[in-house]
């Protein structure tokens, strides 16, 4: 790749922000092996891949911790849509609109003085330190990956055609954007019957989300006179988080509107007859027994894995499938010039927007100091988390869980949780403040 090619690629940055993808460069440029692409300046360049809570926070605060850095954020979507707070919109609570969840990326990049391109990453060459997109090839000195998650349907359905059909008709809505729009329409058009929500097994994005979603959809049914019932299928014995608070809400606020089925293992789905086949544990016989549940609509949330970008980068993952990092820091064990944060990371942190934001602050400080030749004690600045869930709309009532992280050389990183499971109005009111605070921190 020549300097001219690179400049041509960078020249499309401004254009690619406004042109639809189909109108951008038709060919997919590849960096020539062994030939290092040039930077446009002598500045140290950090490329941040992924404009979610982790990536946006890192991009903003990197420029604060070392203003001399050239920071380039690569995000394929043109609009930021928030997953946190989206259940409240789904439930029609507090007049939350889609506009409240949506932000443009351009304003943030202008305000916080980093470069932004909307392109799709096709290759990462660790040796040459390049990121290739559908449009150009960019050299990096440091790379920050915050790509989020992908769905792992293979754990639910052996037949890929079933997985595709399930995704098309019943998307998980755990990645923001069109999946949420589909779910919102399904709720608004719901005529009655069972509205199934499945909780994924293993570690997944936003542990309280399926339970909060059940409350919000049930709230919508209750307040709109819809004779429907949310059937929540959970492979666990009780909700993965804030168990007491959610179970109490199901029983007292949504009796007849939510049926919580614990120890429910999904064994298959019949899309023609609209039945989900499960096995549930019977305490009398101490055995799992099969059961079939009819549905009018289903929000099938499959298990999750790191986004494909991690495969593209060729980073080592831990036994649970998430990226192996050098604790207490966020460098990949494969390459210490690559940082990974957010939901794809393998630290024992809950996968939440708040945690990704908090980790973004830490990475920005550490990497900013590193590029200035200074040291930064991560162990003294570990991230934290708070996760609110709305359980009622009138009055607004919520519950929360928080996590504090500790580190020792012997035991590694540990996250300790504390929960407020008694639903209350203060928490319900705090949710909006939290949301507006965290979005204004990065957008």
């Amino acid at each position: 790749m020549t300097r001219r090619d690179l400049l041509k690629g960078l020249g499309t940055v401004a254009a690619s922000s406004t042109l639809p993808l189909s109108l951008q460069a038709a060919t997919l440029p590849k960096c020539t092996t062994g030939k290092k692409p040039l930077n446009t300046s002598n500045k140290t360049r950090v490329i941040v891949c992924g404009g979610g809570f982790g990536g946006l926070t890192t991009a903003r605060y990197l420029k604060e911790s070392n203003p001399a850095l050239e920071v380039l954020l690569i995000e394929q979507n043109r609009t930021f849509v928030s997953c946190p707070y989206s259940n409240i919109w789904l439930g029609g609570v507090d007049n939350v609109s889609l506009e409240d969840l949506s932000f443009d990326y351009l304003s943030a990049s202008i305000k916080y003085r980093y470069n932004l391109i909307h392109e799709v990453i096709t290759d990462i060459d660790k040796k040459a330190q390049t990121v290739t997109t559908n449009n150009a090839c960019y050299h990096y000195d440091y790379l920050v990956l915050s790509p989020g998650i992908d769905y792992d349907y293979s754990q639910l359905f052996a037949d890929i055609s079933i997985a595709k059909a399930v995704y098309t008709h019943y998307p998980p809505a755990m990645k923001p954007g069109s999946e949420h729009l589909r779910l919102k329409k399904a709720i608004e058009n719901f005529q009655g019957g069972n509205f199934i929500i499945t909780v994924p097994s293993g570690t997944y994005r936003c542990p309280p989300a399926p339970y909060e979603r059940a409350c919000m959809i049930a709230y919508y049914f209750k307040t709109h006179g819809i004779k429907g019932k949310v059937v929540l299928l959970d492979p666990r014995e009780k909700p993965a988080t804030k168990a007491k608070g959610f179970l109490e809400s199901f029983q007292t606020l949504y009796r007849g509107y939510i049926e919580y089925i614990p120890t429910a293992e999904i064994k298959g789905i019949d899309l023609k007859t609209k039945h989900v086949n499960i096995e549930t544990f019977q305490t009398k016989t101490l055995s799992y027994v099969p059961k079939s549940i009819a549905f009018s609509y289903a929000n099938i949330i499959p298990p999750m894995k790191p986004a494909k970008l991690i495969d593209i980068a060729g980073l080592e993952c831990n036994e649970s499938g998430w990226v192996k990092l050098k604790a207490p820091g966020f460098e990949s064990v494969t390459d210490d010039k690559i940082y990974v944060l957010g939901d794809a990371g393998g630290h024992p942190f809950p996968k939440s927007g708040h945690m990704a934001n908090s980790c973004g602050h830490v990475v920005a400080k550490e990497l900013g100091a590193r590029t200035l030749g200074k040291t930064f004690d991560i162990a003294a600045h570990l991230p934290g988390n708070i996760c609110y869930s709305m359980v009622n709309g009138t009055p607004k009532e919520g519950i929360w869980v928080s996590h504090s992280v500790s580190f020792s050389k012997n035991t590694g990183l540990k996250a300790r949780s504390e929960a407020m499971v008694q639903r209350n109005k203060e928490t319900g009111n705090a949710i909006a403040s939290w949301y507006h605070g965290i979005t204004s921190d990065m957008l």
Partner: protein, 113 residues
């Protein structure tokens, strides 16, 4: 011939290390069938051994597992000899391997409230 024999050994090794059960089922089985006789929470139980150690304990129809935990409670000894144990074994194995000593994941039993 040697290659075939080595391939067979490798295949058998892979099968022995294969974890095909459901860790969530294993957690439930542990709670209802093993927790009381062992008098230990599942999260602590799984952290007793590393992944490789658990796999070894579950080798050959969990021979070493049964040896290690027999004699603690008569109820447990009866379970080990029953068809029920054969049924739950792959799930139990999946559970302890998923939350083994060398894994970062912890089985969440309760949050501080």
């Amino acid at each position: 011939m040697v290659k075939i024999a080595l391939s067979l050994v490798f295949m058998l090794q892979c099968m022995a290390n294969d974890v095909t059960g459901s860790q969530t089922k294993g957690m439930v089985y542990y709670k209802y069938l093993l927790k009381k006789p062992l008098n230990m929470r599942g999260d602590l139980f799984s952290k007793q051994y590393t992944t490789q150690e658990w796999l070894t304990l579950f080798d050959n129809n969990a021979t070493l597992f049964k040896e290690r935990f027999s004699g603690i409670d008569p109820q447990l000894d009866t379970l080990f000899k029953s068809a029920k144990f054969v049924e739950i074994m792959p799930h139990l194995k999946a559970f302890v391997v998923h939350y083994a000593k060398d894994k970062k994941d912890h089985a969440i039993c309760d949050e501080k409230e």
